[in-house]
Symmetry: C3
Subunit: 104 residues, 3 copies
């Protein structure tokens, strides 16, 4: 199954560090990054923060290793790492993900 | 089931008002907001607008109440409120959603 | 089934050209566009590019035609065109997609 994994990072620098790491480990084919403003509950209060979202394009077989690698690098103790199933896609693009993300 | 709910708002102010409201009501754990430019059909013409997208992280059990609360606050009569199922995620992060979004 | 289709384009201009085309062909009801910075594998190297992401709101019945139309317009030989199933949504908004995206 192909998945897009949504991850948030504390800075553009952190997002790019994580993106390069998971690409170099062939755990993903492509990462899109964009700025977000976040509002969330933390230790009993509603907090605000400027963050960066990452959309990591990969295959579900890579998810457990991807989670471990991101957790090991991430500045948060509990980073948002959530995967969404690609329902359908352009065959050539999905083939490119297959070729790029090395088989086990 | 964990879901990300995609909602569009007419301004950053409206997005933050809705975000704070659903967080205060414990209908969500976190909201990410970012600017978008939109093109859409409206009353027989293709229109353009600058909007703000919201990604609301919550559980499917909260969806019906979340829809009602957003509709009651929103400036649009027909706001985009669409939920996507989280296929898989970092266990600690999903636990945090559980702890943050109070049970019925 | 309702779907959001995620597509990336090389420029805002290309994104808006594709958005207008798929709207005019009644293959979608609405398109949201936002800037992203991308990191990806290409011909054996990790490359960087500034792109624009598009979220196209439509129905799964339109997907095959949508893929063809986007491919025919796109500057990439292998554009990212990936669809995600809407799990649940505001009934009025989904009805609006039905009314806007013409039946076969």
């Amino acid at each position: 199954m192909y998945v897009f994994v949504y991850v948030t990072a504390s800075s553009l620098e952190e997002a790019r560090k994580i993106a390069r790491h998971v690409l170099e480990k062939k755990l993903a084919a492509c990462v899109n990054v964009f700025p977000i403003s976040s509002m969330f509950w933390w230790e009993g209060r509603i907090e605000n923060a400027l963050e960066f979202a990452m959309i990591i394009k990969t295959k579900s077989e890579k998810l457990s290793e991807l989670k471990e690698e991101i957790k090991s690098l991430h500045s948060y103790s509990t980073p948002c790492i959530c995967a969404f199933a690609v329902e359908d896609g352009l065959r050539e693009f999905l083939n490119w993900i297959d070729e790029t993300v090395e088989e086990e």
